[in-house]
Amino acid sequence: MSRGTSLVADVCVIGAGAGGAVVAAELAEGGARVVLLEQGARHDPADFTAHPPEMLARLYRDGGQTVTLGSPPILLPLGRGLGGTTLVNSGTCFRTPPRVLDRWVREFGLDGLDAAALAPAFARVEQALSIAEVTPELAGRNAEVARRGAAALGWSHGYLRRNAEGCVGSGVCAFGCPTGAKRDTGSTYVPRLEAAGGRVVTHADVRRIVVEDGRVRRVEARIGATRPRTLTVDADRVVVACGTIHTPLLLARSGIGGGSGQLGRNLSLHPATAGFALMDEVVDMVRGVPQSFYVDEFADEGIVFEGVAGPPAYAAAALPLSGRRHAEAMARYRNLAQFGLMVSDSSRGRVHVVAGRPLIRYDLGAADLAKVRSGLAKLEQLFLAAGAREVYLPLPSGRRPHDARPRDLKLMAFHPLGTARAHRDPALGVVDGDLRVHGVEGLHVADGAVVPSALGVNPQLTIMALATRLAFALLDRSVPTAEPTTEEAACRS
């Protein structure tokens, strides 16, 4: 390794996803000298294609092939680069449900995180990302299939709110928006940070956070792929935002945050799966916004249905058939509809470190298995009520939802949370209600790792609001209270 580089900052933020980019931009605009370190690259939507394998390799950590160990194994795709997973998610935005926030106050002692306290932070993010409800026209015919089914059954449903402005429905959100319509944090907050004088370093592999005398002092990283060198950032404040899987790894190898025994534990995932339906009409699932519609009739039971769709390559990989049946169903791709379900899980996993890499252990518990079974049965009901000719559930041939075993399930997860959870008591959590690492001055965490429980809804807005609140707390200011627009006032919470 050649010579090193040193930088000095008021705040060093590690990770440029939903949490890190937001906290970095808000701090820089508030007058702080900020250095943002990102392990991945800066991506340009002008280079994006609509080829899933190409984009998986470019935009996802490990090519989107991160898998949990356990029963059953769960595919856990994570974004990488400026924007993090906001670069490749569906853009769905929910405020944290009030019942979840109530639980945080009650069970985790997080008094400052009630709905009223967080409202200004939510409003600020919603305004920054131009969050708005998808129109029926843009939602496409895949959403219409689900809408028809839900309406026939009398189930509560609606169009989702998303952070995409001027979306034209290219249908490939999960592979990077090729038109730049999606307002991921890499294309919104990072430019704000840079305009405010903040510095961004990509391809920065942070190795250690140095703490001396109980206070954070600096961050040490390796930068540069071809000629690696060291980078040291001297800062009195450090915000870790590497994501739920990698934040506990960095803290652990820095010898920080282990006091409670909770670091790396309490992993919730929102296990998810999806079914297909063969319709008489041409659906063209990929035309429109893939995740544009939800059914929340069973949200109180921990089951939420959300749209999912994609181009043929994506559908072929997800279609739960094999051999000739798979080929025949794919030949009818234009008539296929798809819809997903996710469960608000009570199972908890753990992130370990093996040879410097995360090893994620997660077993689906009995209560969550019951939710998945129930969700699959309801998904079939939804498709049939919409007029499906055939329904393809992600189960082995002959297996029905009610007798599905964990090993029968084909699960994915997109919302890892909780591995450095917030708790008022240092014996029970890694950070406190202000997201400060217990026992270390100047060190905070601002990503999904701090979220102490499953949310039951997509978490990006929660993470962004927590990051906004943290930034203004570090600036010793209140989050400005913006006059809500009509849409914000109507925001479903």
Partner: protein, 108 residues
């Protein structure tokens, strides 16, 4: 046109999807996709794909449902990304991207 049961015809029936052509974009994408996986996983996936493409290997995988599923899903992802397969299903990725960018430019 209608089917005997009076319902509308399904579109695109009868498509057979083959391996991507050598030198194709899909084949290059396959390599990049496999290279992106963590080392142990990458080697395991290459082994599974090799088995899945051979009759006796496929028979062996049939006894290992989880491994078979991984191999099947990966092969399907790669095969249906090939332009010949996508064309028959009404999906032209380059045209979708071009149309989207043109629409956005017109609105700007």
């Amino acid at each position: 046109m209608s089917t005997p049961d009076g319902k509308a015809p399904v579109v695109g029936a009868g498509v057979v999807v083959a391996e991507p052509a050598p030198e194709s974009r899909a084949l290059a994408a396959r390599e990049r996709f496999l290279r992106a996986a963590p080392p142990l996983q990458r080697n395991g996936l290459r082994l599974l794909l090799a088995l899945k493409r051979r009759p006796r290997g496929a028979q062996l995988l049939a006894h290992l449902p989880a491994a078979d599923q991984v191999a099947h899903a990966t092969l399907a992802l790669l095969r249906y990304d090939d332009q010949r397969a996508a064309d028959t299903l009404g999906w032209d990725p380059d045209a979708v991207v071009a149309r989207g960018r043109a629409l956005r430019e017109r609105r700007a």
